[in-house]
């Protein structure tokens, strides 16, 4: 088990306690990437980002450069930054916003220049009170420093950045819901098509929506060049990526590791990373990529942390979160808690999601509480089938957004991998782990 000696691209500065200040940022090469970008044409900056195959770090993994190229023929209206990190067990953007806000702002201005955005809205999850304070302070300093505002660094490019606080709603991480929220409405995802905000975005204008981690990579890419980035990782999964490791590990936390060259086993067991499972208990299951993702088992430990590799194996790298569950975990309870989350967070627009999530939660709850019926396991799969026909991966779409069809993932994983455990709950009239 080896952890590669890849450079840390977006977390290098975090070893300093004052990583969020302009002084530390400038002392560690801050805003050099922006100066370099401003010396190039916007098209060349966009081409450089296209060349690095920077897969979006928000969840869907859509290449950042391609999102931009949809607009490259003309200046665009808005750049919207998705900092509404709320996928359960995902806590990397929280770190980047709080600990290195200047890196984010620099990435934001580089992106704004590449697509010639007229204005930037930085949507930050409302619950990140300290993050909002840090990024607001950093923005004030960045204006003062000449890195945002009029005639940035004397380049003739001007752009304003506005920090916008959210107010607590998981669904606003979905980019069209985020745009609705930014327009001052309920966070209801928009009906597709149009599929991309590049066509119809904020206030109906062409808009690019990029994730915090995605944009935080840009300063380094500008300084070191796309080849230094693509030298890391393999295939489409280039560079490094942040993984938020949580659950039953000795050292939960956010780790920046080289993509593909690092495996789940490295992440969970390497002493300098997860450090293994406490009390040397056995691994039962892994939830890769957020709670919408189908689970993996111990047989997947040597799977590389690559978007296509994990996708081909029937799950997803998603938001870069990895939840470890050891052999003391009740999978019925885990599936119930995840389903309860979706039920609470369903926006309520579409019937399969609004009703299905509630029914699934109730049935899982009664199985866990020992009052389930033998037929409940088939009933769960039947309701899952109504949400995502065939209960396949990636799920079939029955609703406006992907929240609803993602709900069956944990339940189907639990039943397929541990059907006996569900049956024992029913047969014995209670949870064997309680």
């Amino acid at each position: 088990m080896t952890v590669t000696d890849a450079p840390r691209i977006i977390t290098a500065r975090l070893e300093h306690d004052d990583s969020h200040t302009l002084e530390r940022y400038l002392a560690t090469g801050g805003y050099e990437g922006l100066r370099k970008a401003l010396s190039m044409t916007p098209e060349d900056v966009a081409r450089e980002v296209d060349a690095v195959s920077l897969l979006g770090r928000g969840g869907a993994g859509f290449p950042a450069g391609r999102k931009w190229s949809m607009l490259r023929k003309a200046p665009t209206a808005y750049l919207v930054v998705n900092g509404d990190e709320s996928e359960p067990a995902t806590f990397k953007d929280h770190l980047l916003i709080e600990r290195d806000p200047h890196q984010l702002i620099e990435g934001v201005v580089i992106a704004a220049y590449a697509i010639q955005a007229a204005r930037v809205f930085l949507y930050v999850r409302g619950e990140f009170a300290l993050g909002l304070e840090r990024v607001t302070s950093a923005l004030n300093d960045a204006y003062e420093h000449g890195a945002v505002g009029n005639d940035i660094f004397g380049s003739g490019f001007s752009v304003d950045v506005v920090v916008h606080p959210g107010a607590g709603a998981y669904i606003c991480g979905e980019e069209t819901a985020l745009l609705e929220s930014l327009e001052g409405k309920r966070g209801f995802p928009r009906i597709k098509p149009p599929y991309f905000p590049a066509a119809v975005g904020l206030y109906g204008e062409p808009t690019v929506v990029n994730n915090v981690e995605t944009l935080s990579n840009l300063p380094w890419v500008m300084v070191h060049g796309s080849e230094a980035f693509t030298a890391l990782g393999a295939g489409r999964s280039t560079g490094t990526r942040l993984f938020a490791l949580a659950g039953h590990v000795r050292n939960p936390g956010v780790y920046e590791v080289e993509m593909v060259k690092t495996t789940f086993r490295d992440l969970i067991y390497a002493p300098e990373l997860g450090g293994g499972i406490p009390e040397d208990r056995e691994l039962k299951a892994i939830i890769p990529g957020g709670v919408s993702a189908p689970w993996f088992g111990p047989q997947h430990l040597d799977m590389p942390l690559g978007q296509d590799e994990v996708g081909d194996a029937g799950s997803m790298l998603g938001s870069g979160s990895v939840v470890v569950m050891d052999d003391s975990t009740c999978v019925v309870r885990a599936a119930w808690r995840i389903t309860r989350f979706f039920w609470r967070e369903s926006c309520g627009q579409c019937t399969p999601c609004r009703e299905g999530s509630g029914w699934l939660e109730k049935v899982l709850r009664r199985i866990e509480d020992g009052v389930g019926r033998a037929s409940d396991i088939d009933l769960l799969m039947d309701v899952c089938d109504n949400l995502a026909p065939g209960v396949s991966w990636p799920p079939q779409q029955t609703t406006i957004c992907v929240l609803g069809p993602s709900i069956p993932s944990s339940i189907a994983s639990g039943i397929r991998m541990f059907r006996d455990e569900f049956l024992v709950h029913v047969k014995d009239g209670g949870c064997p782990y309680a």
């Binding site: 044409t41 916007p42 098209e43 023929k73 200046p75 709320s86 996928e87 359960p88 067990a89 995902t90 806590f91 929280h94 010639q116 007229a118 204005r119 409302g126 619950e127 990140f128 009170a129 909002l132 304070e133 607001t136 204006y143 003062e144 505002g149 009029n150 003739g156 490019f157 001007s158 752009v159 304003d160 506005v162 920090v163 916008h164 606080p165 959210g166 107010a167 607590g168 709603a169 998981y170 327009e183 001052g184 409405k185 309920r186 966070g187 206030y203 938020a244 949580a246 659950g247 939960p252 936390g253 979160s321 939840v323 569950m325 975990t329 885990a334 808690r337 989350f341 967070e345 926006c347």
Partner: protein, 225 residues
């Protein structure tokens, strides 16, 4: 009708709300940030505040409530001075969050979702608050507290009760204590001029590039024929 600013919201809040309104091309975008401001003043969205917010933003009070009620953080009923949100989502649950919540309920003497009789504490069961590296974790008025044990929870409550955490945990409703310095700096005319110039330059470069490609293509076909 009472003009906005002459009523419930203080002149300071109204002045700050007007600054926020100026940051957006459409007034309604300022709705959620202004609701946060009103909560800073009152701790929750009082009906009087809702009426004035509606006037400021240019929508009806029903539309304000219709939007605000969608969001967990915007409160249309009163809450305690300190809202304690204990995360019980998967990462925290695996590390004892429900046991912690049960302890919190006993310790405060209220069930999750309720407020203590003295109006000091509202206890809530929260969805993932993105601090899973320090699970089980909670927020007090959206300030993070991680690696919480039964003992550290009781200490926290004691500190809050005796005003010992005032510096890092303001009362409920105060979200961001840092204010944006100055409004938009780039005026409309500059934006338009720069964008027009950029569009022209991009078109020129695109024409030059396709012209070059066209030229190369001609040469190739020429040599082939």
């Amino acid at each position: 009708m009472t003009p906005a600013g002459a009523g419930h919201l203080t002149p300071e809040v109204v002045a700050e709300a007007r600054e926020i309104l100026d940051l957006y091309p459409h007034r309604r975008s300022a709705l959620i940030p202004i609701c946060h401001l009103a909560q800073r003043q009152d701790g929750w969205l009082r009906p009087e505040a809702v009426t004035e917010i509606a006037e400021l933003v240019g929508i009806t009070p029903a539309e304000v409530i219709g939007t605000a009620s969608f969001y967990e953080m915007l409160r249309t009923t009163p809450v305690g001075t300190y809202v304690i949100s204990v995360c019980t989502n998967i990462a925290c649950m695996l590390r004892g969050a429900y046991e912690l919540l049960e302890h919190a309920e006993q310790s405060l003497g209220v069930r999750a979702g309720a407020t203590t009789e003295d109006g000091e504490f509202t206890l809530e069961e929260a969805e993932c608050i993105a601090d899973c590296g320090r699970a089980p974790c909670l927020q007090v008025n959206h300030r993070f507290v991680g690696d919480v044990t039964a003992e550290s929870f009781d200490q926290l409550v004691d500190d809050l009760r005796h005003d010992r955490r005032h510096d890092d945990i303001p009362s409920h409703g105060t979200l961001v204590r840092v204010r944006r310095q100055g409004g938009l700096r780039v005026d409309e005319a500059t934006v338009r001029a720069e964008r027009d110039a950029a569009a022209a330059a991009m078109a020129e470069r695109a024409a030059a590039a396709s012209g070059g490609q066209h030229g190369a293509g001609t040469t190739t076909s020429g040599s082939a024929s």
